[in-house]
C-alpha cells in the first residue's frame, strides 16, 4: 500500500494555476525527494497535502483514508505531519515547551486545565527523550528566539515528528545552513524517519542524492518526472528544466 497518493491535484488561486494536476505516490517506508525550480509549486503542494490550503480539485489519500478536504489538525491526527520552509515556531516558548506542546495531543489532552503539564508523565518523558535525540539537551529552557538558525530548523523537524506521524513532509530542512550543520541534520533525518515515509523538498543536490530513494521533479505545477536518482540525473528533460540548456562541449 502507498503511504500517500495524490491524484490529479490542482490548485487555482484567482487566475493563476499553481498546481496543474499533480500525480504522485509515496511508497510506505520510502524517502522521496521533491526538487524543482523556485516557484514550481513544491511548497504549495505541501500546503495542499497538509491541509494548509484546500485544493481546487483532485484527491489525496493517506494510506487508505481520504484526507482531501480535512482541516490541518485532523490530518495530523491521521498520521501525516510536515515542517515548514521558513521556521514556524512559537517565538516566546522554550525548546522544551515546544516539544511538550507537540506531544500533548498524543499523550494528554489539549484542553486539560486541571492538571499541571509537569504531572503529565508521558508527555514529559517523551519530551526528554526527544531532547536527547535532537541533541538539544543544553538548550532545554532556551527561548527559541535565542536559538541559532540551525537549532531552530532542528526543532522544527523535532516537533514535526514528535506527534508520532508516520508520514513526514519536510520542506527544505537544510536551507540556509552551513555544510556541517546540513550534514548533521541529514543524518538526524535519516535516524528519525526509520520506518516512516518521507517526502522532502530540497535544493541541495548533495543532500538529495544522499538521502532519497527516489526523486520527483516538479516544474510549473506539474511533476514531470519521478524516478531513481540515477535515472533523474540522466534525464534530459529534467536537465533542461532544472539547470537550463547545458550542452557539454
Amino acid at each position: 500500500m502507498h503511504a500517500l497518493t495524490l491524484q490529479e491535484v490542482k490548485l487555482q488561486l484567482g487566475q493563476t494555476a499553481i498546481l496543474r494536476g499533480v500525480d504522485l505516490q509515496l511508497k510506505a517506508g520510502e524517502r522521496l525527494a521533491l526538487i524543482g525550480p523556485n516557484g514550481a509549486g513544491k511548497s504549495s503542494l505541501f500546503n495542499v497535502i497538509s491541509g494548509r490550503q484546500t485544493c481546487t480539485s483532485g484527491r489525496i489519500m493517506l494510506r487508505d483514508k481520504n484526507i482531501t478536504r480535512l482541516p490541518a489538525h485532523q490530518i495530523v491526527r491521521q498520521g501525516l505531519n510536515r515542517s515548514f520552509q521558513t521556521s514556524h515556531l512559537f517565538a516566546d516558548l522554550s525548546v522544551f515547551d515546544h516539544l511538550c506542546c507537540a506531544l500533548i495531543q498524543r499523550f494528554s489532552s489539549p484542553l486539560m486545565f486541571w492538571r499541571r503539564l509537569k504531572n503529565e508523565k508521558q508527555v514529559i518523558r517523551n519530551a526528554e527523550q526527544l531532547l536527547d535525540l535532537l541533541a538539544l539537551r543544553e538548550r532545554k529552557d532556551t527561548i527559541v528566539r535565542e536559538l541559532s538558525y540551525a537549532e531552530q530548523r532542528l526543532l522544527e523537524i523535532g516537533i514535526c515528528i514528535a506527534g508520532g506521524a508516520d508520514c513526514i513532509l519536510l520542506d527544505e530542512p537544510t536551507a540556509g545552513m552551513s555544510r556541517t550543520d546540513a550534514t548533521r541534520i541529514v543524518q538526524l533525518i535519516r535516524e528519525l524517519t526509520i520506518n516512516k515515509s518521507l517526502l522532502i523538498i530540497e535544493h541541495d543536490m548533495q543532500v538529495v542524492f544522499d538521502l532519497a530513494d527516489r526523486i520527483a521533479v516538479m516544474v510549473q505545477g506539474q511533476v514531470i518526472a519521478c524516478d531513481t536518482p540515477q535515472a533523474i540525473r540522466a534525464n534530459r528533460q529534467v536537465q533542461t528544466a532544472y539547470l537550463g540548456t547545458w550542452k557539454t562541449t
Binding site: 523556485n38 521556521s87 538558525y149 540556509g176 535544493h203 543536490m205 539547470l243 547545458w246 562541449t249
Partner: protein, 237 residues
C-alpha cells in the same frame, strides 16, 4: 578601470538564516557579468542584497557611495535597476502605467537620458501595441519584457536581472538576447543571473559561480569551459 560596483565580504540573511557567506564581487562600467549557480544557491538573494531588500552585513560600494543600510529607493535613485525573478508587475495597472512608474532621470546630472518611453516601445513593439491593456493579462514573455523596459526607463548605469528567460519560449529568448546586446551597447553594466548558459555565453564578459553563499569561480568563458570539475560540483545535478 575603476569598479562600478564592489562587494566585499557580504553576508545576507532571511530572518536568521544566512544565505550569503562573505561574498566578494566586482563589476566594472559597461560590463556584463553572468552569475551562475544551482537552484537555491543564493543568486537571487545576492541581487536583493545589492538592492537593500534583505538584511545584509559587509561592504557594497557603488561608485563612491556605500549602499549598505540604504533604503532601496535610494539605491535605485543612485542608478541601479532591478528586474526580479517573479517580475513583480503591478497587476492592476495598464502596461503604460507600469512603464510610467519606472521613469526616472539618470542618477548623475552629466549623463543623458538614455531611455525614454519611445525607446522602450521601439525596443519592444509588442508593448506599444498592448499599452492600454492590464498588465496581469500579458503572457509571461510580455511580462518579462515589460519588467525589463520598466527598469530601463529609470536610466540606470547598472542593471540587475534575475532569470529573465525563466519560462519563456525560445523565440522570445532570442528577442531578449538582442535586447541585452543593445543595452550593453549603450554602456549599461549588467549583472545577469541566468540558468541558460547559451544565452549567458553570448552576452556576458565574465562568469561567476555562486556556491554555498560565496563566489567559487570568477573568469571568462574559456576558463569556465576548461574547469570541468568546478562545473560538476557547483552546477550539475
Amino acid at each position: 578601470m575603476k569598479n562600478l560596483l564592489t562587494i566585499q565580504n557580504l553576508s545576507a540573511y532571511y530572518a536568521q538564516s544566512q544565505v550569503l557567506h562573505g561574498l566578494n564581487l566586482d563589476i566594472k562600467s559597461s560590463e556584463v557579468v553572468a552569475l551562475l549557480g544551482r537552484n537555491g544557491a543564493g543568486r537571487s538573494t545576492c541581487l536583493k542584497a545589492i538592492m537593500g531588500m534583505v538584511r545584509t552585513e559587509g561592504q557594497i560600494q557603488y561608485r563612491d557611495q556605500s549602499l549598505i543600510g540604504l533604503p532601496s529607493f535610494k539605491i535605485a535613485q543612485s542608478g541601479i535597476a532591478y528586474v526580479p525573478e517573479d517580475r513583480a508587475i503591478f497587476a492592476g495597472l495598464t502596461v503604460e502605467q507600469n512603464l510610467m512608474l519606472g521613469i526616472k532621470p539618470p542618477a548623475r546630472a552629466e549623463s543623458t537620458w538614455l531611455w525614454r518611453l519611445d525607446d522602450a516601445y521601439a525596443l519592444f513593439p509588442i508593448l506599444f501595441e498592448r499599452r492600454a491593456v492590464a498588465a496581469e493579462v500579458l503572457s509571461g514573455g510580455e511580462q518579462q519584457m515589460l519588467t525589463l523596459a520598466r527598469s530601463l526607463l529609470g536610466n540606470p548605469d547598472l542593471l540587475l536581472v534575475d532569470e529573465p528567460t525563466e519560462g519563456l519560449a525560445p523565440q522570445v529568448i532570442s528577442q531578449l538576447l538582442d535586447f541585452f546586446v543593445s543595452v550593453k551597447q549603450r554602456g549599461v553594466a549588467i549583472l545577469l543571473v541566468e540558468q541558460k548558459l547559451e544565452l549567458a555565453k553570448q552576452i556576458a564578459d565574465r562568469f561567476l559561480i555562486l556556491g554555498n553563499g560565496s563566489i567559487v569561480f570568477d573568469g571568462d568563458w574559456d576558463e569556465f569551459i576548461e574547469n570541468q570539475s568546478l562545473r560538476q560540483e557547483w552546477l550539475e545535478i
